[in-house]
């Protein structure tokens, strides 16, 4: 990508000059690579601030409703699969570790290790999505999808809730779906970005001098990880779970 596209004719090259088609290692608006990579990292931190507000609004909403309806929320939380949730937490933490190693080897300029750990990170992230998908499937079987597959009577008969509390159960489950799906979308984007990085690394794009894309994607990956660490207690660990 850093090479000029030499297959273009002179006319076309004139047309595409100064467009996004051309990419230089050092963009023209920067003095040096150091300034450029610092600006890129800074930009990602700003973006993470917006993500905090994005999830923060959701966390606050769940917090308010949990405060209003503790019984229904805890009953509903107990039906979630906390085992898979916990295993997935471990999975994501390990993926953050491999992501850190990718950044480390990018700094050292070790291309082989960089690609190895990037692919490993993507693989572990995909494992998370696989486990999550399995969990969604079991939620589907257990009628835990309000608005689509949901059985009001079982909450009254089996769980001993009053009929007025059933909408509150739906509320909790809806937040569970919204938050985990948005998280999964974030993770999918992160996995895609990591795979693109691996491909670019294979094209010899990164060097100890220039590897800010790896650092930037690394930051994003960790954010996705941290969001899950908040989701686990907020969604899975509300009630008093019985082991076994």
């Amino acid at each position: 990508m850093s090479r000029e596209a030499s297959y273009l004719t002179a006319d076309l090259r004139d047309m595409f000059k100064h467009t996004i088609v051309f990419r230089e290692e050092l963009e023209e608006q920067y003095h040096d690579l150091d300034q450029q990579s610092q600006a890129a990292t800074f930009g990602m931190w700003l973006f993470l601030a917006t993500e905090v507000l994005f999830f923060g609004a959701l966390f606050m909403s769940v917090g308010i409703y949990h405060y209003l309806y503790p019984e229904a929320f805890e009953k509903a939380s107990e039906r979630l699969n906390w085992q898979i949730g916990s295993i997935n937490t471990l999975v994501l933490l390990v993926s953050s570790f491999t992501m850190v190693l990718s950044v480390h080897y990018a700094r050292l300029g070790n291309k082989g290790r960089l690609i190895l750990f990037l692919l490993l990170t993507a693989a572990i992230g995909t494992a998370f999505l696989g486990l999550k998908g399995y969990e969604y499937y079991s939620d589907y079987q257990e009628n835990l999808i309000p608005g689509w597959k949901f059985d009001s009577s079982e909450w009254v008969l089996d769980e001993g809730l009053s009929p007025t509390q059933v909408p509150q159960v739906k509320l909790f489950l809806m937040f569970y779906w919204i938050m985990t799906v948005i998280h999964a979308v974030h993770l999918t984007i992160a996995i895609t970005a990591v795979l693109i990085l691996a491909w670019l690394a294979r094209l010899e794009l990164f060097s100890p001098r220039y590897h800010s894309p790896v650092e930037v994607v690394g930051l994003y990956w960790h954010l996705v990880d941290i969001v899950w660490i908040f989701l686990l207690p907020m969604l899975y660990l509300l009630g008093t779970h019985h082991l076994g």
Partner: protein, 549 residues
């Protein structure tokens, strides 16, 4: 060879017109639609944003004509609701919020700090595509079915009762919101990392300071709006009562989340306008901006406070008396930094050598109208008075004084100020001054009657009204038609100047900012040599009023 003799006079008769600038640096559709150049992206924004403004104005023309008689003249109740909603949604989310940052900010920010481009040019182009996509999406939803909730999308009406394209419109709004967010992120990174040598923080032009404050509001507020609207969409699609009291939800939660975005968004709309005024007034008064640091910090004061006043929209919505008291007090505090700015602009004018070109006329209009709007804001922050005028035309008049009298007029001032820089041509002085005057008069005639209407108790958004309100309504409609003429004038003389206007030269206003030290239109790389900044932005030689119009 005799050819030498033949060629030379021809060369002399045709002065070198092929100066290289950003407009002719490369040709073809692709060189525009894939460009990285912030100046071209600004032009790309200018065209659809102007179109959105006139579409939004058209919807309001329908409403104003309708309100000429107490029983309504033109629209069915349904069409009336859809018209004022379309007006609000288009004007707020697709015109007022993006316009100054995306058009003038995009064009001027790198020039003003001596940079070659924004920090992330690709992200900049992406935000243009997001804006276009969101705008086309929302316009499609509005034209094919429409929305009738009002621009605030209040629940439970928007989540349960409305049968129109609420969810689709919201998707468009969220997409356009992310476009603004990307622009804000880009501006902050640019201001932090790409200032020219010597451009210290307190040498930044005030327009840059206000864009910086605005960008922080974008970053922190837009995601909350996105989540609030996404929850409404989920509620509509899956029938879960997130905001529905019958199903355990709380409609007030929506109002909290919505105003946590939308009140700061009001300052998104006004802060860059204040920046423009702080550029224009020193230039046409030939004086240094009075109290530079105070104006800079006041911008941040406003941005900071904007996040702690949202519940003043909810005084009658059932929040506790205690929190209403706190939010009322916090809202009063916004008056302090706002007043600091107005006093500083006035002090800048004092003993200045003032001339009245079009940009200055617009900006003086801004100061007057903004003061009006700000003062009536204090009425609304007062709990007892707000009970009386809540949801009346008083509120409508108040926020139009800020948004139209403030932001739109400041934008017009900025557009007229930087137009010669953007295009290299000067527009007609006579017509532009006339337009400024007509807009000012039309604006007052349109919105001053609405204060009276609101104070006398005419509610906003009503299809019918009591007959005793008719005289003021007719006056308001008459004023709005004058305002409309004022808006249409620039649509003629500005494009006319592109071909027939005299060449502007690099610094037609003899302004001191960095952006005036490069040719007009600027070359593709902004500056031939990276400038080295040795002084503040407003070092005007006092007492010499000489412009070259």
């Amino acid at each position: 060879m005799p050819s030498e003799v033949l060629v030379k006079p021809i060369l002399r008769r045709r002065p070198p017109q092929v100066e290289h600038n950003y407009l002719n640096a490369s040709r073809g559709m692709a060189s525009w639609l894939l460009t990285k150049d912030h100046k071209r992206i600004a032009i790309l924004y200018l065209i659809p944003i102007t179109a959105m403004f006139f579409i939004g104005a058209l919807y309001m023309a329908l409403v104003r004509i309708h309100l000429m008689t107490p029983t309504g003249l033109l629209l069915s109740p349904d069409a009336y609701n859809k018209s004022f909603t379309a007006h609000g949604v288009i004007m707020v989310f697709f015109f007022l919020v993006p316009v100054v940052p995306a058009v003038l900010g995009n064009f001027c920010l790198p020039l003003m700090i001596g940079a070659k481009d924004l920090a992330f040019p690709r992200l900049n182009l992406l935000s243009w595509y997001l804006y276009m996509f969101g705008a086309i999406w929302a316009m499609t939803a509005i034209l094919a079915g429409g929305v009738d909730t009002g621009w605030t999308f209040y629940t439970p009406y928007s989540s349960q009762s409305s049968h129109y394209n609420v969810a689709l419109t919201m998707v468009g709004v969220v997409i356009a919101g992310f476009s603004s967010l990307a622009t804000g992120l880009n501006f902050i990174a640019t201001i932090h990392w790409l200032r020219a040598p010597g451009m210290s923080w307190f040498r930044l032009p005030m327009f840059v300071w206000t864009l910086y404050a605005t960008s922080f509001i974008f970053l922190l507020a837009v995601p909350v709006l996105a989540i609030a609207l996404i929850l409404v969409i989920v509620e509509r699609v899956f029938g879960i009562g997130i905001y529905d009291p019958a199903l355990g939800g709380d409609p007030l939660l929506f109002q909290h989340l919505f105003w946590f975005y939308s009140h700061p968004a009001v300052y998104i709309m006004i802060l860059p306008g204040m920046g423009i005024v702080s550029e224009v007034i020193p230039c046409f008064a030939r004086r240094e901006l009075f109290g530079y640091k105070f104006v800079a910090f006041a911008s941040f004061g406003i941005a900071w406070l904007s996040f702690f006043v949202w519940a003043h929209h909810m005084f009658v919505a059932g929040i506790s008396a205690y929190s209403a008291l706190v939010f009322s007090a916090l809202s009063f505090m916004v008056a302090i930094p706002s007043a600091i700015k107005v006093f500083n602009w006035t002090a800048t004018l004092y003993k200045g050598s003032i001339t009245f070109e079009a940009p200055m006329l617009f900006c003086l209009g801004f100061v007057a109208l903004f003061t009006f709007g700000g003062m009536t804001g204090l009425f609304l922050a007062t709990l007892g008075v707000d009970m009386h005028v809540h949801d009346t035309y008083f509120v409508v008049a108040h926020f139009h004084f800020i948004m139209v009298g403030g932001m739109v007029i400041a934008y017009m001032g900025g557009l007229h100020y930087w137009w010669p820089k953007m295009t290299g041509r000067m527009y007609s002085q006579w017509w532009s001054k006339l337009a400024a005057l007509i807009i000012f008069i039309g604006f007052f005639l349109t919105f001053l009657p609405q204060f009276v209407l609101g104070y006398n108790g005419m509610p906003r958004r009503y299809h019918h009204y009591a007959p005793e309100f008719q005289a003021w309504n007719v006056l308001s409609t008459a004023g709005s038609s004058i305002l409309g003429v004022g808006y249409l004038l620039p649509l003629f003389y500005l494009p006319y100047s592109l071909r027939h206007g005299p060449r502007a030269g690099s610094n037609p206003w003899r302004a001191t900012g960095l952006e005036w030290q490069t040719p007009s239109p600027p070359p593709r790389d902004n500056f031939e040599v990276t400038p080295i900044v040795v002084r503040g932005p407003y070092q005007y030689p006092q007492g010499k009023a000489q412009h070259e119009p």
